[in-house]
Each structure stands twice: as structure tokens, then as C-alpha cells.
């Protein structure tokens, strides 16, 4: 079918999971009001979590999870060779996610603490883009299905997608959410990229920055305001490091 003389692309979509909780791919099966349309628009040819179908031919690879073992590197490289478009799906794939908290520990000690004498193989957790080239990174812990749907529409019509440059704060204002920062909680909303719809502040929880930095974030001012309001450097660090999404900034 053509719309205004343009035919949408037929995209074969495959879903792959690495080090993570598989919560982002689960979002693909959520949002029940549009689920049927979504499943018709994205031709899922491989999605191990919910289907036996396992095609090796696909156009788009949705890759979930961080990379933290040698076999994952091999598997990811094979996917990269096959996919026309490789999408990092979720904060673990985009930034390493909470898995990166592991990197601060000595792995021999970590193994002894969890597995005793029978250590298991593990590497420092990395983002997908640290291993292969990524065409599109959709952050979120978990991803917003609404945003995934909008991105899919862009892909189907071959229209470039752009993430918002504004921070989460703007979406709190749109929802009339009372400012979490003003209520006395440390919130990374002012420096975090919007587009999620700000569900955490709306639920009374300060933003943890799962989507990573907004465009040109004013981190110095953020730090000084946090200090003024009585938050110590340790409190700020505990938030900035949570998802590994502010690593270059946190190191400053």
C-alpha cells in the first residue's frame, strides 16, 4: 500500500538479549492498546523470549543488555554483520546500565563472594557501542514503548529520528508534576534527556538519569545547587553512577 505516493519499508525485526533483565524487550509485548498494530508494523522474525521463530535474515537488530562475557562479543559481532540497522535497546545496551556498578569491584573477590571456589567467567560490563558500531541508541530503564513506537514509525517511513534535546524537567512541567527537587529530593531531571514522559518524578521518585545527559547539560550549576540544598558529593555520586549513563560527566 502507498501513502501519499510513498510505500513504507518492510522491516524484518530481530530481538537479541545480552547481560540484563530482559525488561526492555518485555516492553515490546506491553502497551496493550497498540500491541496488535505494533506487531503488524514490526515484522518480528526472531524474538527468543516469546517465540520459536529464529530467522538469520533480518533488517533491524534490537539488542538488549550490556556486554560482559567473551561469547557475548562473538554473538554481537555476528549480529552486526547481518543487521542493516543495529539498535541498542535500553540503558544497559546504550551505557552498560546498572551492570557497570560491578566494574568498581575486584572480580576475583566478587566471584568468591557469589560462587565460592567455582569462579565464573566475567568481563567488565560495557555498552554495545564499545564493542560494535551502533546505528541508533534508545535509552531507558526500561525503554518507553511509546517512544519505541514513534521511532518505528520513523524507520518504516525512512524519516530521520531525533531525540529531544530538552531535559526531563520539561516533561514534568507538561504533566503538572510538582518539582521533586523542590520537594527536597535529589533529582537528575534537570540534566537528563527527556522523551520518557517523566514517569519517575510523577511517581514521587527523583530522576536517576537512565536516559543519559540532555544536550549541553549544566552540570556545574546542578552540582552547586545540590550542595546548597545539603546533598553531599557522595549523594550526588550515588545517583550519577547508578546507570553508568553519566560516566564521562561524573568523572569531571
Amino acid at each position: 500500500m502507498k501513502y501519499l505516493g510513498i510505500r513504507p519499508q518492510d522491516l524484518r525485526v530481530a530481538v537479541f538479549d545480552f547481560t540484563g533483565c530482559e525488561g526492555c524487550e518485555l516492553q515490546l509485548a506491553n502497551r496493550e492498546e497498540t500491541l496488535v498494530d505494533f506487531l503488524r508494523a514490526a515484522r518480528l522474525v526472531r524474538f527468543r523470549e516469546i517465540a520459536d521463530e529464529a530467522a538469520d535474515e533480518y533488517d533491524v537488530a534490537l539488542v538488549e543488555g550490556a556486554i560482559s562475557r567473551a561469547d557475548e562479543i562473538d554473538r554481537l559481532q555476528r549480529i552486526r554483520e547481518r543487521a542493516r540497522l543495529l539498535v541498542a535497546l535500553g540503558t544497559c545496551a546504550c551505557y552498560g546500565g546498572v551492570n557497570k556498578l560491578k566494574n568498581a569491584f575486584d572480580f576475583a573477590e566478587a566471584n568468591a563472594a557469589v560462587y565460592g571456589a567455582q569462579a565464573k567467567e566475567t568481563l567488565p560490563a560495557r555498552a554495545v557501542s564499545d564493542v560494535v558500531s551502533v546505528d541508533l541508541a534508545i535509552p531507558g530503564c526500561p525503554v518507553s514503548k511509546e517512544e519505541v513506537e514513534r521511532i518505528l514509525q520513523h524507520l518504516l517511513w525512512d524519516v530521520p529520528w531525533r531525540f529531544p534535546s530538552y531535559p526531563v524537567c520539561l516533561e514534568c512541567k507538561q504533566r503538572f508534576t510538582v518539582c521533586t527537587f523542590q520537594k527536597g529530593e535529589l533529582c537528575l531531571g534537570p540534566i537528563t534527556m527527556g522523551g520518557c514522559g517523566a514517569p519517575c518524578p510523577a511517581g514521587g521518585l527523583g530522576c536517576l538519569g537512565c536516559r543519559g545527559p540532555a544536550a549541553d547539560p549544566n552540570v556545574d550549576e546542578f552540582r552547586s545547587i545540590a550542595r546548597e540544598r545539603g546533598f553531599g558529593d557522595r549523594d550526588v555520586a550515588a545517583k550519577l553512577e547508578f546507570f553508568g549513563s553519566f560516566d564521562p560527566i561524573a568523572a569531571r
Binding site: 547481560t19 525488561g23 496493550e32 492498546e33 546498572v98 560491578k102 560462587y115
Partner: protein
Amino acid sequence: MKIDLEVDLHHLTRVEGHGDVYVRIEDGKVVEARWDVVETPRYFEVMLKGRPWTQAGLLSARICGICSISHCLASIRATERAFGVEVPPAAAKLRLLAKDGETLQSHYLHLLFLAAPDFLGLPSVLPLLEQKPAVVDLARRLRGAGNRLSDVVAGRTTHPVTLKVGGLTQPPSLPALRAVRGDLERSIADLDALVEIFAGFAIPDFVRETEFIALRPGDVYPSIGGRLASTDGVERAEDDYREMTNEYVDPRNTSKWARHMRESFAVGALARFNLNHALLLPPARALAERLGLRPVSHNPFLNNVAQLVECVHATHESLAMIDELLRDGMAEVSVPVTPRAAEGVGAVEAPRGILYHHYRYDGDGRIAQANCVIPTTQNNANIHLDLSALAAQRAAAGTTKAEMERLCSMLVRAYDPCVSCSVH
């Protein structure tokens, strides 16, 4: 005719996470039958070290994409028991509601998206989009009601935002709560339709006697906290969970294994039913009776039926709970919290079985040591031994490779394993 065959399923489909099934039959005898978890380890117990108490629940939730609410609640319970916190009654009810929402979405996901294709002879639910759109619609509506219940109460169905140590950040909005009550009310008819679909499925005839372990609070069907009970007659306090789980490391698995009175035991919907059937709400008990589910049932495939029974229970429990909250109000949903150097255990019945979080806090309110015992970890040995027994039964009767593959996959899926979770 004595059969020879090999089943080698690398990264079994329609389960959460990565596990392998291997079965080899020679001359009609089982030479090898294995269930191995090969998921990449994540070391959450290490990552939790040094985290402030305010972040423990948020980080723990990330162990699992399906049962993040259970992880968050077990974590919060461990911290509250360490700090000696009692939450207001409205908060306790709201948490139960959030959990019921999770049970519903998780059980429906398993029953309709993961298990049903086996009974329908399909590779997934995707072909149903064209073949049986009414069933997809049913799945969509049922799962939607569960997800919305968690959304309304916990702020989000995956990785909740309102659940915190001391209670909740805020109560749900009244219009949203009333709307989700309507969804649940309407889902009762859909649930009846689902029961009719499942009543027509042939449940494989297989029994291997085992031990079942679940929470048994005594006065209500189990959900958050309570004593631990086993069908082998053992009862223990929540704090003594280690004596009930006895985790050990298997060289071929990244998930640990567990044992108690026998070589293996099982947790999950069937275990909860076997130990608490008398406390199910009447419509759920009637359904169990109708579908022939009686305690103590040792057929692991009946876990699907037990999940269905629990969906009925959770729906009716939620409706009653919402009515109570609307009647009594939700003026107070949290209490102030003062951290202290102390230890606490939190046990919760996650959709897939009993889940424990155990933390030791230092004087700064940061975690010094953490231990998490996951339902699928406790089921691994049982799945493994069931595979052997099932393979032996079918090998003796004579079967094909395809049929053996189908049955072995169905067996593992019946446990609804949460593999990433089990590795954490």
C-alpha cells in the same frame, strides 16, 4: 522397538533468559538428561554493596524485567525488617495490589504468550494475529488489566517507582484506581473464556514425587512475608531461609542450585497451591476443583493450571482490596525511616515462587553484605531431575525426536523459569 535419539536445545525459546536442554537416549534408556543455565552472571549481590538504603529496592528491581515489583518488595521488606519499620495499613494493602497486578501480568504472559503455543501446536502467538485474532484480543485485555493495576499503584509495571522503604511515595489517584477496578471487573468474563481455552488443552500425564516449598502466613494466601513451609512437613521462620534453600554451585551452571529434604524441591504457583489451597478465595478454589487440581499434586505441568487458579484469586483479591481502600481512604501511606546498623530478611512470593533478599547494613545506612535467593535457582535441580524422569518415561513408551523435544521444552516452560533472575 528400543529408540535412540538426541535432543539438544541451545538457548530454549519462550522462556526468560538463556538455558539449554540436552537429552540423549540410547537403546531405550536415558544416558544423559540435563537442564543447564548458561546466562551471563551479573553479580547483583556485589553491586548492592555500598549502596545507600534508599537505592536498594531500585537496584534490586533491575534483577528482573518481569517480576521487578517482587524484587523491589522483597528488598524493601528486608530493609524494613532490619530498621524495625512498620508501614501503615493502607500502604500494606497498596503493596499487595501492586503485587497482584504483577502476578496477573506475569501469569498471563506465561499462560498465553509462552505456554499456550505448545498446546496449540504453534511456534509462538504471532501466527494467532491472523489465525485467531479473538484470542490475541483476549490476551491483550487480560494482560492489560494486570499491567494497568501495577501502573496505577506502583507508577510503572516494570521497575516500579512509588514503592519505597517506609511505605509508598504517594497513593494512587482515585479516578485511576476506580478505572482499573472497572478493568478488573470486566476481566472476570475474559478469565472465564481463558479457562475454557485451557480446559480444552491436554496436560501431559507425568508425575515425579517431590518436595514443595512456599510461604504459609496461615491466615491468607501467601504474598508478602510469613513462615516458610514444606510439603515434607518442615516449617521455619522467614529469617532461617538459608536452612530451607541450601544453595550450592554446579560447575556447568551460572545459576546456583538448591536442595532441602530431598535431592531437589519446587517453588511457584503449584507449590503455593499445594501448601495453601484452603486459603484461596472461593471462586479460585472452585476453579481448581473443576480443573481437577488437588493438593498435593506432583505433576509439574499442572503449574499452568495453578497459575490460572491464582489469576482468579488475584483478580478477586484486588477487587476487594480496592473497595476497602476506597472506603477507608489512603490518608497515610508512609512513615519516617531511621537507618541503623542491622540485618534483615525479606521473603516474598514472586510469580515464579518464593524469593528472598537478605541485607546487612552498616551504621551509615549502606549495604555491607547482600544475599538474594531466586525462585528459579530453587527450581533448577527439580527441573533437571524431572527431565530425566520424563525422558525415561517417554523413552520406555517409545517416541520420536520431535515429540521428545516438544515435551522437554514444555516441561521446562511449565516452571515458567526466570533465568536472568536466577543468575542475577
